[in-house]
Symmetry: D2
Subunit: 186 residues, 4 copies
């Protein structure tokens, strides 16, 4: 039976205080409302992964792993850096997938969405992320793909989306994602 209110581990691929992707994640949380619990996973205090630490993971690594492991699903909300996954997000994935045999992502449903101000959006980062998710055994929502063109004021302080067509698209994305999570939780 699917959970009534799944816990979603949200990984935002930017550490910036002004991250437009964190704003986007907050907007998605608001659109999901009571249907899901968004757990924003902390990633700002994670040293760069080194496999020599596998035998004694630092507390922040274990916290990350537990935040993901205990969630019902994952949601990546991420910009693109150099046509690929931002290092902060790749680092979190490398950490949470190790040590060998303790992959915290295994078998979870997931999805990716990203906001950018540029033309190509975040399509290439999303492609790499999807490649990675195959290996860490996350089942990713296929359609709709979600590339959000951001502009100032698109998302208000209270996380509401000010543009009707964008809000409609994001609502549809959230609906599809939550349906996917429910489908894979049976």
């Amino acid at each position: 039976m699917s959970k009534q209110r799944p816990v979603i581990a949200v990984l935002v691929g930017s550490l910036s205080k002004d991250s437009i992707n964190r704003k986007l994640a907050r907007a998605l949380e608001k659109l999901a409302g009571q249907r899901a619990e968004f757990r924003f996973v902390r990633m700002d205090d994670l040293p760069v992964y080194n496999r020599d630490m596998d035998s004694s993971y630092p507390p922040a690594y274990n916290r990350l792993k537990e935040d993901i492991h205990s969630a019902d699903a994952v949601l990546f909300v991420t910009p693109e850096n150099n046509r690929s996954v931002p290092s902060v997000l790749k680092n979190a994935i490398d950490i949470a997938s190790r040590p060998w045999g303790t992959n915290s992502f295994a078998g979870k449903p997931g999805a990716v969405i990203g906001a950018s101000t540029g033309a190509i959006s975040t399509a290439l980062a999303q492609q790499h992320l999807r490649n990675i998710c195959v290996f860490v055994d996350v089942y990713m929502l296929a359609q709709p793909e979600a590339f959000v063109r951001y502009h100032d004021g698109l998302i208000a302080e209270d996380a509401s989306v000010t543009d009707d067509s964008v809000r409609e698209f994001l609502s549809k994305f959230v609906d599809s994602y939550l349906a996917w999570v429910a489908r894979l939780s049976n």
Copy 2:
């Protein structure tokens, strides 16, 4: 005119003390001999990239940028983590390519090689790295692609390669790479 003895910024995609890719990089250095100067770029003290630091890069970031900027070419020697570029390497690339307008990689010739013990080798990490290199404007050697199957003892303490066919392949790789560097330095 091409430089007689180019400086190669070597980025090893692992922080492990026992990194087989660092061993591989040392073997390549030995095979290059007097034809090139290998500069092993330090990456173990780089905090995870955050664009909020763009206005005041920490000293370790600037050291990394200078190590790459002042080199004639780059060489990536890297394992694969989760079917993509290891976070330590992606982090170094994100740092050295920023702040906007100061990309330390711009226009340099490059190549990638990787050692692994597994069957698929490092092909998928290399593919992502090549995608990234397009954006950071590094001109990558195409052929020969270099996927090294590593086993204990393949590379001796003095960085010599103990297997004849592997040594021959690596020599050919070094020759091709140095020819590529010379060709693009004209």
Copy 3:
């Protein structure tokens, strides 16, 4: 309710009479036994896709679309050509996904496996195929990834697998795939 015996549209990415991937597909069919019906999709008579034909698809195009549309799931068994999807397979996908609004793949569960004689196997073709499957809305099995190292005699004339560990791996792959198909058919 899931179907008792799903129909699997099998797309083999080679037209060669001696295709090792067709042999592999036959071996998978044998391992699936009565649990599934394997429908080998004909692809040797499909002209190269041209969108000018969208208004009047040739009969072979419509046959392909119907073969896929009426199946419960898809299975790609493919070699790698030039580090990507073979043209025969890309052509079939382009045809079956069009004309716009009639994507024959939409919403189906799927998986990919490939045999090769070389070291890197078919990992890069599979990565591209997975990227494509996101767009054509096929939900792909993540783990286990399946890269089969082929050698003469691995698969006998009667489609049985002669190597114990390979047969065990392929059985596990078939089990995982059929479980995935059942899970998404609920």
Copy 4:
């Protein structure tokens, strides 16, 4: 010494009579003017590649190989089909790179550009194409990446570009490409 007027083998990734990418290729030819000879490679009569034909390539296959082999450089002008390289273009590449040992692309400089009407443009097709080009040993221009947003009237009947900023960008692209071809022809 570089050739005064290099021959460019142009591969347009669409067979449509109204192909916007063919229009784009014609615009690039016009911008190149007397600096290069654009050879539009015919691809509409190429049966889908089958390695069983390696021992006796049909005349159209050999014509394609010769058109590419005798050129100084290649230029891919292509749309994106299903987030990857169109089948017509993948087919041409598979054909021209075979039979084993007769790769017609080997060592040539190249570039890719694409026009689309949609938001994500042709970035993902270009990424796959670049992956493929590594294997077929084509040295691709890195920057500038070129994703052209097309609208009716952007390119006139006489192949002139009607929008100033687009024309300026395309001129810069042609300049960079021809400089790259010259650089690798030394």
